[in-house]
């Protein structure tokens, strides 16, 4: 209705956590600044395209003006996004592009994969690279794209590099640590692991610490949770690739506003990523208000 605040629905993939928690904070902040009515939705089970589509549908039923979906599966979303379009709802995708969207914002999954490959090559140096990847689950769509990009970029940067296996850890550090430990036993020349799941990095770092492999086994983490930064400080992790989750949430609402108000905007908005090394940790933590422990 005329005069009522705009209703904005963020259909995210999880509630809280180091990554999406920051996103939510940024989203709420922007909604507050603009006087919008912000709703943050997340499914009960991780990575269920069906639940995400259902949530998007619920947002439409609740007369949303703006929806910010994470299009984990273009086909699955096609129907519901078309419906939203017909209802005149502004659609800004988060993290993944899609034809039905007015625009999207996020770390481009391909770019993220590339950034991780670059970080790995920089960390290992000139020696041989035998690397494993670890993601939440092999069924997580966006992580698949990220991982494929990583593999492709690595092959381009270092044709001699070997990707041993793609592991999954269910966001559980214990599983991650056990798996990488067993993999190392089977492949003693394995010398690196990159993570697409925050707890994968944590588990790998704990493996490095236990086996005393600092400097020999390289771990590339993801995102900037306090315990990840601590691992980098302790040298059990080489570096982490941080996505700009707060920015993503904050800017997405402003992007939607521009579209809604008929102002000029770009379709693709890469919120970028930063690679954080040991030397950068303190400054990064201070800048982003992260408190580090002992």
């Amino acid at each position: 209705a005329e005069g009522a605040p705009l209703k904005v629905y963020a259909v995210s993939v999880m509630s809280g956590g180091a990554a999406w928690g920051q996103y939510e904070v940024g989203f709420n902040k922007a909604c507050e600044e603009l006087g919008y009515e912000g709703h943050y939705l997340a499914p009960q089970s991780f990575n269920s395209a069906a639940e995400l589509v259902n949530l998007t549908e619920t947002a439409i039923t609740n007369e949303a003006d703006i929806i910010l979906p994470v299009v984990v599966d273009a086909e699955a979303f096609a129907d519901v996004l078309t419906r939203a379009k017909e209802a005149g709802i502004v659609l800004v995708g988060i993290q993944a592009p899609d034809d039905h969207l007015d625009a999207y914002i996020g770390t481009d999954p391909t770019n993220l994969g590339n950034a991780i490959a670059e970080a790995l090559v920089a960390s290992v140096g000139d020696g041989p690279i035998k690397v494993a990847t670890m993601q939440t689950s092999l069924t997580a769509g966006i992580q698949q794209v990220q991982c494929d990009a990583f593999v492709a970029k690595l092959a381009q940067l270092r044709p001699d590099a070997v990707v041993i296996d793609r592991l999954e850890c269910n966001s559980n550090a214990a599983i991650a640590a056990d798996k990488i430990s067993a993999l190392y036993l089977a492949n003693p020349d394995c010398n690196a692991m990159i993570s697409l799941d925050s707890y994968a990095g944590l588990g790998a770092a704990s493996f490095v610490e236990e086996k005393g492999l600092q400097g020999q086994f390289h771990v590339i983490g993801i995102d900037d949770a306090a315990e990840i930064l601590m691992c980098i400080k302790n040298k059990t992790m080489d570096c982490t690739v941080a996505q700009m989750w707060y920015d993503m949430g904050y800017k997405s609402v402003y992007l939607a506003k521009a579209i809604h108000d008929g102002e000029a905007f770009e379709y693709a908005n890469d919120s970028g990523s930063s690679i954080i090394y040991a030397a950068d940790v303190d400054a990064w933590a201070a800048q982003n208000g992260i408190t580090l422990g002992e």
């Binding site: 009960q44 395209a49 619920t58």
Partner: protein
Amino acid sequence: MKTRDFARNLLARNELGTIMPMALLLIVVGFVNPSFFAANNILDILRTASFAFIIAVPITFLMAGGGMDLSIGAATSLGGVICAFALKAGMPVAVAILLALLGGAMVGVFNGLIIVKFALPAFIATLGVQYAINGIIAITTKNLAISGFSSAFKVLGQGKLFGAVAYPVLYALVIGIAGHIMLTRTKYGRSVLAIGGNAETAYLSGINVRGKQISIYIATSVFAALSGVLQAARFASAQPAAGSGTELTIMASVIIGGTSMFGGTGTVLGSALGCVLLATITNALIVMNVSTFWQNLIFGVILIAAIFIDKYRRRASGGE
């Protein structure tokens, strides 16, 4: 006097156990946000419940007959994936669906054999099958969703009667009614209840216990595969993890609906209400603007409250 008796009788019926907690929930939601009752929203809830209910019908038979199956989630995913592969290979829709159901049937035959014939404990046997099926899906699909279906297929999941009632709701209705009649009115259904109540007595009374048990395991997997096919049609994409995790919620719906985990009692109507209740809670939490952080807590509390109220009602109405 008469109406009071009628109300008491209604309350005393097992299958209606969840009606009271549901009514309470609806009153609260309606109060907080009346738009919950928008026809659209109700139909959305029913559609969500339908995908679960299609599996809950055979699961009602299975649990009433004393069985259990943790592989239904995986069978759901498998159904969607097989159908998708067949469609991509250019087969006609009907053939693709048939193949998917056949795949489901094979899972069911396997479950039935190892549990009924070789007497392995159902809990681990079907857990093992769950892993195995997920493994097969991973190997064949590389865990990538399969999409790009013809609209002739998609309409099966996306179409709506009179532009309002989604087809899956209709399928669920038909399957539910058939299941209800089968369980309450047929010799087959009676035999299943007898097997769940006391398999030895049933056997000595001339009932083909093993055959019936195996047939239920097969039906369970076939309907799970069907649900997977419909989900693939609805989302125009077969997700390798489409059904993962649903085994617990579907079993929970069936138990909420009054079916005993230990066999002998069960009603399809109750399972329908159980499925609708769970879908309603999820939807209501969003409609009431409950923060995602609070949703799990409130979901859990409502779940416990629902069975608690049910129990109390039963006692009050003189049953048990």
